[in-house]
């Protein structure tokens, strides 16, 4: 049976070129970048080059890139790091109810530390309202954290407009760009972004590495203390092979961005046209006019998530109910609840398909036909 992987938003296959680029940094150039000898210096140079590639991809300076162990650490760092370092300026934080748990759970932690957090609602299309952001801003707001593109439904937020709004306020503007980065062009200066989180394994890079962009004016208190790596902002021996792999993935993502955008849109349309032809009933969740090209979240009325996923998996199709991080839990997706309400039937019948490296029109067509059959079976039609 051909297995079709449509869960690239959970994690993506590591690109062959990425792995090839990494291996020499494990076997030959294995030095500790802090060592002053040749091996160390070679590793240091590799990190410097990687940092330039990464910085360049978002219009940042090299000194503004901090390598982390992934998106979760970058999000935790951005929120807790700025909150703790800027407490003297205020204790109010604004975020949204549809953030990834790496942001939400850090906000809960900060609330226990005495911070006041406003969770902005979204409309039923998943959009954050600019007026809500404006209304929530107070004198003592120190951070606004709003994700670039949602990981479950793919909705893109008006980041540029929010950046404009926050730029003259004392608050820093953080965006979790883990899903959007690599598929949407991002310029931190153009968008007035102060902090931005990225994870390598969502863009065909390796797991265990990511980065936080922090504008040089941002006061940030470290989360990991120890050696003086990453300009004293993030201790720990640098994961050189991982960092080099990340940079390679960034290069590939930059080169193939427009091609991928077109490809994934086509895949989305292919899938939806099969659904249309079949006559099954379905709803697409999330504003499709401002949406990441690779994420398609669909409700199939009359089905339930678990049996859908089990049946899809048996048919060789890997999809998901929401974010992988919540897939293990039985709770309905907090994103869909925020959009549609607790009572909506759609929160129990929605599936996320996410496209990526290696997917073809044929695969997606096949997956769509299988999905149609499963939906028919489960709804007895």
């Amino acid at each position: 049976m051909e297995r079709i992987y449509l869960d690239h938003a959970a994690t993506s296959p590591t690109h062959r070129d990425v792995v090839e680029r990494m291996v020499p940094f494990m076997t030959e150039v294995f030095g500790n970048p802090s060592s002053i000898h040749f091996f160390g210096r070679q590793s240091r140079q590799a990190i410097d080059e990687a940092r330039a590639v990464v910085a360049n991809s978002i219009g940042a300076k090299e000194t503004e890139i901090i390598f982390t162990s992934g998106g979760t650490e970058a999000d935790n760092f951005a929120l807790a790091g700025t909150a703790m370092a800027n407490r003297n300026k205020g204790n109010h934080i604004i975020t949204t109810s549809i953030e990834h748990h790496a942001v939400l759970h850090t906000c809960h932690y900060l609330e226990r530390q005495g911070f006041d957090v406003t969770y902005l609602p979204v409309d039923e299309q998943g959009n954050v309202s600019l007026d809500d952001v404006k209304a929530a801003l107070r004198d003592e707001t120190i951070l606004v954290s709003i994700m670039f593109g949602n990981n479950e439904v793919g909705v893109l937020q008006p980041i540029k407009a929010i950046g404009e709004l926050v730029k003259d306020h004392q608050a820093y503007f953080h965006t979790d760009a883990v899903q959007a980065y690599g598929l949407v062009p991002i310029d931190v200066n153009d968008y007035h972004i102060d902090l931005l989180s990225v994870s390598a394994h969502k863009i065909n890079g390796p797991k265990g590495v990511g980065f936080l962009y922090a504008r040089e004016t941002v006061k940030l208190s470290p989360r990991l203390y120890g050696g003086e790596q990453e300009r004293k902002r993030r201790a720990g021996t640098e994961n050189v092979a991982g960092i080099v792999g990340l940079a390679k993935a960034v290069e590939i993502a930059q080169q193939t961005m427009s091609e991928k955008q077109m490809m994934y849109r086509e895949l989305k349309e292919t899938m939806l046209s099969v659904f249309d032809e079949s006559g099954i009933s379905y709803f697409v969740n999330g504003n499709q006019n401002a949406c990441l090209p690779h994420i398609l979240n669909v409700a199939f009325p009359g089905t339930n998530v678990e049996s859908m996923l089990v049946n899809l998996d048996l048919a060789g199709i890997a999809a998901s109910s929401g974010s992988a991080c919540t897939a293990g839990s039985v709770d309905p997706s907090h994103v869909l609840v925020a959009m549609l309400g607790k009572e909506s039937e759609r929160i129990r019948s929605s599936i996320r398909f996410s496209f990526g490296l290696g997917n073809t029109v044929e695969q997606v067509k096949k997956a769509a036909y299988e999905t149609v059959q499963i939906v028919r079976r489960l709804t007895n039609r």
Partner: protein, 380 residues
Amino acid sequence: MIYLDNSATTKPFPEVVDSFVTVATKYFGNPSSLHELGMKAEQLLTQSREQIAKSLGVKPSEIIFTSGGTEANNFAIKGVALTYRHRGNHIITTAIEHPSITEPCRQLEELGFDVSYLSVDKTGRVNIDELVKTIRDDTILVSIMHVNNEIGSIQPIEEIGQLLTQYPKILFHVDHVQGIGKVPLQFHKAHIDLCTMSAHKFHGLRGAGILYVRDGVRLSPLLAGGGQEMQRRSGTENVAAIVAMAKALRMSLEKYRERIAYLWDVKKTWIRELQAIPDIQVNTPLEHSAPHIINFSLNGLKSEVFVHELAKQDIFVSTTSACSSKKKAPSKTLLAMGADQKRAESAVRVSLSFENTLEEIPIAIRAMKEAIQKLQEVTR
């Protein structure tokens, strides 16, 4: 090429790199995903956890994977401090810990914790009596490294653990980053509650480490999010690096059984040869020290220039721990051991792995003698 900087980082075993590549390309699923690829990844993660737990003689539920030693140390120190704050706010550690212990301690001091730093004697060992005297009613944590990263001294961990059983409110954390695979440590026998290890110090890859947390010990998470690692450490698991780490640990422990006697031969020969050089003072004691670390001073000569001279001959040693080798500061450990400034400023570390040989020694020693001569000529 003679690589003598294994305490900074080790060269990954080729088999370890192969495992990494296989998992990264074939089993790339997210372990939290419910579908087949996700379940395969989860299976690999579970197997690695079981295998590592078995090697360490502990339960799989007691193994938390982290991004490395620094994260594990930060997690242990801050996690315990914040969780058990209601019991007290006093922490005991030593004057010779790695910065990933001392810096979080400083951070906790800023938050109102009181930290005592135990002194060490001239062999780099803590004194049990001093520890007993330092313990207070409000002590919640004792954190002591097993093997020192700069001079290789071994602390009496079992004895300390035994002593601490009389103080049920105190948790015992051990930084085992330099010890694992080189100096055996039985976690249960030593009554250890938390223990840190890092893959790239035992021929695994950077970006993966382990915090052992004994069942029953609660820890406030350092990274919040998706709730991976039994709700204690969020972030998509670095499956490929973790599988590679399990393999590296198994292979390292095998090497230990086969080659530990030989490694001791190598170390003893190193010390004998170094002691025969007039301008060298060996700082690492033969008693209670690890088989792979030899620290010596150059009688005031510039150790950094010495390191560069050797590098020209393809011989790699370091001035001090890699994490602080860019700072031109005297060795904190040597100062704590009572060495004078001159000795502490001219320290050099040779650190071995099971790959190093007796045959390398005469070549490296000759190069060292030449380097010393050259330095002396320049200084004169």
